[in-house]
């Protein structure tokens, strides 16, 4: 009898809550408050052990590697000099044509991934930043190559992120080339399984290779974040919509650091034209994240700062010149 009650009780809860998405309550926060430090500590220990192994123990072939690196370093110094010239030229050209750093007013908080979802039916990660660091429920989360997901539950120092590939995830996007609107829905798998592109009108010109960007509708995600690339298009003989599949830009196989975009950005902010989030230059060097070289093409800029390495928990790094209220 007791067993039946113990089985029925959560079932009733589930049936009444199954269609409702909710943030953590006080008790949930307590649970996270206890478990997240353990996860953070585990990750720190793993990083420490692997760092010690790589730097002090696993030194076979270091001598040869050192010689090769010295040569490579000399070449890279020359390359850096060349790129500095390009960067200065780039800056001058941008000033000339009146361009400004795109979306530099959008704040970004670097965060470390400290855990993944315990069951494959849900695709989520836990990061070591929360409301204390400026994050909030629904905030966009981006990785080095594009949109990762959004915060679905948050507490003081930790947040759970629903990944773009989760079956419950839905994002409004535009096709970069044609500006056609669509929605992207996760398939509940990893990145290689792809994402579905829905509500894409059959009259729109879309083809494999087209890049999908966030539309900025609803102010959930800033405009112009790279979401994925269309890999197949299927246009049936009937129906209002065509079906398409896309590969997400973010690498969900191995996410270690992400950036939380807390929101509150001006509506006109856009990341567009910075198709690859790595090729940007909006990060102040003082923050420790070295801006990636823009290369020789003056237009190749963007705005999402790159998270270079693990950011210590003690100093939450807020990147960008924030006007966030």
């Amino acid at each position: 009898m007791v067993v039946l009650i113990l089985l029925a009780l959560p079932f009733v809860f589930y049936v009444s809550n199954s269609k409702v998405s909710r943030d953590h309550n006080v008790f949930d926060r307590m649970v996270v408050w206890v478990s997240a430090p353990v996860q953070w500590l585990t990750v720190a220990v793993v990083d420490g052990v692997s760092g010690a192994w790589n730097h002090y123990i696993h030194l076979v072939g270091v001598q040869e590697q050192n010689q090769a690196l010295l040569v490579e370093n000399a070449n890279l110094k020359l390359e850096v000099l060349r790129r500095d010239e390009f960067r200065l030229e780039n800056d001058r050209l941008r000033n000339l044509i009146g361009l400004r750093e795109r979306a530099a007013e959008v704040k970004a908080i670097a965060a470390q991934v400290i855990a993944v979802s315990p069951t494959p039916a849900f695709r989520s990660i836990r990061v070591d930043r929360g409301t204390d660091d400026g994050g909030h429920l629904g905030a966009a989360v981006v990785g080095r190559h594009g949109l990762v997901g959004r915060i679905a539950a948050i507490s003081g120092g930790w947040a759970d992120v629903m990944l773009l590939v989760d079956a419950n995830s839905s994002v409004d996007v535009v096709v970069q080339r044609t500006r056609a609107h669509a929605r992207v829905r996760g398939r509940g798998g990893d990145g290689n399984l792809g994402i579905d592109v829905e509500h894409l009108s059959r009259t729109n010109d879309v083809e494999p290779g087209d890049v999908l960007m966030t539309s900025g509708s609803g102010s959930v995600f800033p405009k112009g974040l790279r979401v994925g690339t269309i890999v197949s298009v299927e246009r049936g003989r009937f129906g209002l919509y065509q079906r398409a599949a896309a590969l997400p830009s973010a690498d969900f196989d191995r996410i270690e650091e992400v950036m939380i975009l807390p929101g509150g950005w001006p509506r006109e902010s856009s990341f567009e034209d910075g198709a690859d989030l790595e090729s940007n230059g909006a990060v102040p060097e003082a923050n420790g994240a070295v801006p990636e070289a823009n290369g020789a093409v003056p237009e190749a800029n963007g705005a999402v700062p790159e998270a270079n390495g693990a950011v210590p928990k003690a100093n939450a790094t807020v990147l960008g010149e924030g006007v966030n209220p």
Binding site: Q39, T42, P120, F122, S124, D190, L193
Partner: protein, 170 residues
């Protein structure tokens, strides 16, 4: 209090393995410490203790998965009940038996999760990826169960109050 130790063990196991998986890529393989704990108890303890423990661990796991309240609880309690009922019909013990039982328990747990998701949500989106991961995850959970059996058995001996009936009889 003794039962709280099992709850803490299952929860910390999940916490540890999910954070380890965030750093060391096992190809998305994450052994399920919650299932191992629950199946271990289901093979040895009375049903009320087993289901209560499963309910508590299910709640804690569900919060990290961002799942609706009740989903993981029902699935893990269901898994515990299945393991308990099956243990009455199968004679077996030892690490290998726990490994097989845990692997099968994980499959049952995930099947229940899927059934409940299909029942409760309009579009759960059948994930072929999650299905493909089922058997490898069952195997790795079985391995975890096999390896952790001595520790679990030792903990159980420590937690179970000693009776001196044998000595009294002598």
């Amino acid at each position: 209090m003794r039962h709280a130790v099992w709850i803490a063990l299952g929860w910390l196991g999940v916490t540890f393995w999910t954070s380890l998986a965030a750093r060391l890529s096992f190809g998305h393989l994450v052994p399920d410490a919650a299932v191992v704990t629950v199946v271990f108890l289901a093979l040895r303890r009375e049903p009320v203790v087993v289901t209560a423990t499963a309910l508590a661990i299910g709640y804690l796991v569900g919060r990290q998965a961002l799942a609706p309240v009740g989903l993981h609880e029902v699935a893990l309690v269901g898994c515990a009940v299945i393991a308990y009922l099956a243990s009455g019909h199968i004679a077996g013990s030892g690490p290998a038996f726990l490994a097989v039982a845990s692997a099968m328990g994980l499959v049952a747990y995930h099947v229940l999760l899927y059934l409940l998701l299909s029942l409760g949500r309009d579009q759960v989106g059948f994930s072929s990826w999650a299905t493909a991961m089922l058997l490898p995850n069952a195997v790795i959970t079985g391995v975890l169960a096999f390896v952790s059996y001595p520790g679990l058995a030792a903990l159980e001996r420590k937690l179970t109050p000693e009776t001196h009936e044998g000595l009294a009889w002598r």
